[in-house]
């Protein structure tokens, strides 16, 4: 019930292409869905987050799509750049229970010129 399943494990995209990473959750009580970006040797940093009251959130080239009925959410990176090469983690949490941020297993994205 507390798992967040993330796919793919790794992704190779050409510069200018679209990168898509998918996550699925089980607990319907989750109400906070952030994506974190991690560069080698650094800690994760928040990229973008969404709540279930909207189906899509866009910030620059990054978009979260959220499907509440399917219990799935995804990250789309438009016009992918070599600087986007990093590991991406989705997560799901409960606003009223702040120990319950459950992370996916991560996707290593490589963008080649």
């Amino acid at each position: 019930q507390q798992q967040v399943k993330q796919s793919p494990q790794s992704l190779i995209v050409q510069k200018g292409g679209i990168s898509i990473i998918n996550c699925a959750y089980e607990n319907t009580a989750f109400d906070y869905f952030p994506w974190y970006q991690q560069f080698p040797g650094k800690g994760p940093a928040l990229l973008i987050a969404i709540r279930p009251d909207v189906s899509e959130k866009k910030e620059g080239r990054f978009t979260i799509s959220f499907n509440k009925s399917a219990k799935q959410f995804s990250l789309h990176i438009m016009d992918s750049q070599p600087g986007d090469s990093a590991t991406y983690f989705c997560a799901a949490g409960l606003s009223y229970n702040t120990d319950k941020l459950i992370f996916g297993t991560g996707t290593r994205l490589q963008v080649f010129p």
């Binding site: 993330q6 040797g41 702040t98 120990d99």
Partner: protein
């Protein structure tokens, strides 16, 4: 503004040794967390704290201890190091969003 600072960055321990991983934040956040990151496993919560003097177990607390005597500091203690504790450890503060340090890479041989 330093954010979340973790020390040391790297450490090699022998089996059975003990050590403390340090974490300090200068943002006056009440919530603090310790995670471990293993390849292909994402981040697993070890312990967390909602304020000075209050700590609680996360998903994988066995073999670790924490204390929170001040808002700024949240050290993680390994008492009897085991090879299974070889990992990268991250400290984080706040909730939305969580602010992470750059980690401590720990190897136990």
């Amino acid at each position: 503004n330093a954010g979340v600072t973790q020390t040391p960055k790297f450490r090699i321990l022998k089996i059975g040794q003990s050590m403390t991983l340090q974490c300090t934040q200068d943002m006056n956040h009440n919530y603090m967390y310790w995670y471990r990151q293993d390849p292909g496993m994402g981040l697993k919560l070890i312990y967390y704290s909602v304020g000075a003097g209050i700590t609680d177990k996360g998903e994988v607390p066995n073999g670790y201890n924490v204390s929170r005597s001040t808002t700024e500091d949240f050290p993680l203690r390994l008492e009897l190091a085991a090879p299974s504790q070889t990992s990268v450890y991250f400290c984080a503060s706040a909730w939305e969003p969580q602010h992470f340090g750059d980690g401590t890479r720990l190897s136990i041989l």
